[in-house]
Symmetry: C2
Subunit: 299 residues, 2 copies
């Protein structure tokens, strides 16, 4: 458990939205649904939101929801949503691959695609009504609120090893295109992708990564993380070895930013869309903007 763990006030209502989504997706209603909410409330009351992070509560609520659903430990609540997200993203992959290859600066366009993949959070409940095609059509107009591209390109040019920490299903289709662009930019770089150890929200596990063929372009390992983020103390030895040795680390999405930003490591580059006020404060970039941000300025 992170010593610096803390759940900010702004995350409280959002956590309950997450729990509500879990209840709906697992089909838990009535008394059992209340039990699920009460479980999350007790975690917040018992800890006062200290010594833990939101990722701990989401994991804990997910386990509780799986137990209450009576569908066995192998049940992945967001399994169907993740498959739909991957399928939807795959339908757009060809067009974006073409645009990327024809771009005057394919690496830069690759970063944009990777960040856009995080915009189009196919699985996120709040984005249920998202017009995916419109988001993709207007991708070229999107602006970065922070774009540490020169530092990123410099490091990539010199890198022998790159650790790519994945986030959501759907999004990984775009990660795959970005990874191929990075490989063309530096054919010598060895890229390893890390996915979650266990299903949580719409974060990718092995099966989701394999479904889009991510393993065809890079090695795919589990980070050992059972959380929707990367709490280094709670990752696998293999992951931490790769993490320590990597010349460059790409961290996708909000959960990974939340859990890795305090590492204050210049090898880290965070790619995401800023989705809430709390993240806007953490990143210093306004809500809604795309971000390519080098770590290391804090801590």
């Amino acid at each position: 458990m992170s010593k610096r763990g803390y759940i900010p006030l702004d995350c409280y209502p959002c956590l309950f939205e997450q729990v509500s989504s879990l209840a709906k997706i697992t089909g838990i209603g009535g008394e059992k649904g209340k039990e699920l909410f009460e479980h999350a409330m007790r975690r917040l009351l018992d800890t006062r939101g200290k010594g833990i992070v939101v990722q701990h509560v989401v994991r804990s609520a997910t386990d509780k929801a799986i137990a209450l659903s009576g569908r066995g430990d192998g049940y992945d609540p967001y399994g169907d949503i993740k498959r739909q997200s991957n399928d939807a993203a795959m339908r757009f992959a060809g067009a974006f691959d073409k645009k990327l290859r024809e771009s005057p600066d394919p690496l830069q366009y690759g970063v944009k695609i990777a960040a856009a993949g995080n915009i189009i959070d196919f699985g996120a409940k709040k984005h249920g009504s998202l017009d995916v095609e419109k988001e993709l059509r207007t991708l070229d107009d999107r602006e970065f609120g922070r774009f540490d591209f020169a530092a990123f390109a410099d490091r990539l040019r010199a890198a022998s090893s790159l650790l790519y920490i994945c986030d959501n299903a759907g999004e990984i289709v775009f990660d795959k295109l970005f990874i191929e662009a990075m490989q063309r930019y530096n054919p010598a770089v060895e890229i390893t992708c890390a996915v979650r150890e266990a299903p949580v929200i719409n974060d990718v596990v092995f099966a989701d990564a394999h479904a889009v063929g991510l393993d065809e372009v890079a090695a795919v390992i589990s980070s050992g993380s059972i959380y929707p983020g990367t709490l280094l103390d709670e990752t696998s030895d293999e992951f931490r070895r790769l993490y320590e040795r990597a010349d460059l680390i790409v961290s996708k999405g909000q959960g990974n930013l939340e859990t890795l930003l305090d590492e204050a490591d210049e090898r880290l580059f965070f790619i995401l869309r800023i989705k809430c006020d709390q993240m806007a404060r953490l990143s210093g970039v306004e809500k809604g903007a795309l971000v390519l941000m080098q770590g290391g300025e804090r801590g």
Copy 2:
């Protein structure tokens, strides 16, 4: 306290959104903000959401927020928002009054305006980004999911006394126009408007009603309710006397519907916009639709 009190699962995340809004509006952050959330969580844990309704939790959280803000008992957290809502609505009042008077069926158009007032919930946090002018421009295209107009007009024609239970600031500007239309339809009807006894969310109290001159067209009394709704057992004797004797009762908005629907009283007509799934289930009308619904079919 209502014997039939029950907080449905769907209301849990929404309640925490409400608490979050309270914290922001009263400027309570950090540890005090957590105290506010913990207060609401404890009420839900202690009761398991039974024997109370959401209105009890909102009241209780509001009192806690006022106490934590240190601004004294007279502090109305939504005071500024309510003033802005009234002012905004007043800017449109003239145009709608003209449309109403020129309408081929002014009473029907009056119902529409009253329901629209509930759409344009100027104070509701989630509607912060609402384009008021656009909502008003498209008012004529709005459809009712249920429109018990014939029954309503029949009862109004024969009514000597009408009790009008108000909801939000801003909305009451439109209520006032509707009340004038009803008075022209039946000049003999005596109309009394009821507002809340104490500030809660953006529901109107005396001061808000007076600010838009509601007292110029009808008697205005307090219902004695300190809740964002009307729990009959917890209203004043004066209100209950008026309620019992009224030939016709108009109930505006969701909070009043939630708390009065179980009265199963044919004198009750609910006018509102259906704003959530829970209300859609209760009313049998889909989310987003306008409603003029006679009570009395349940219970």
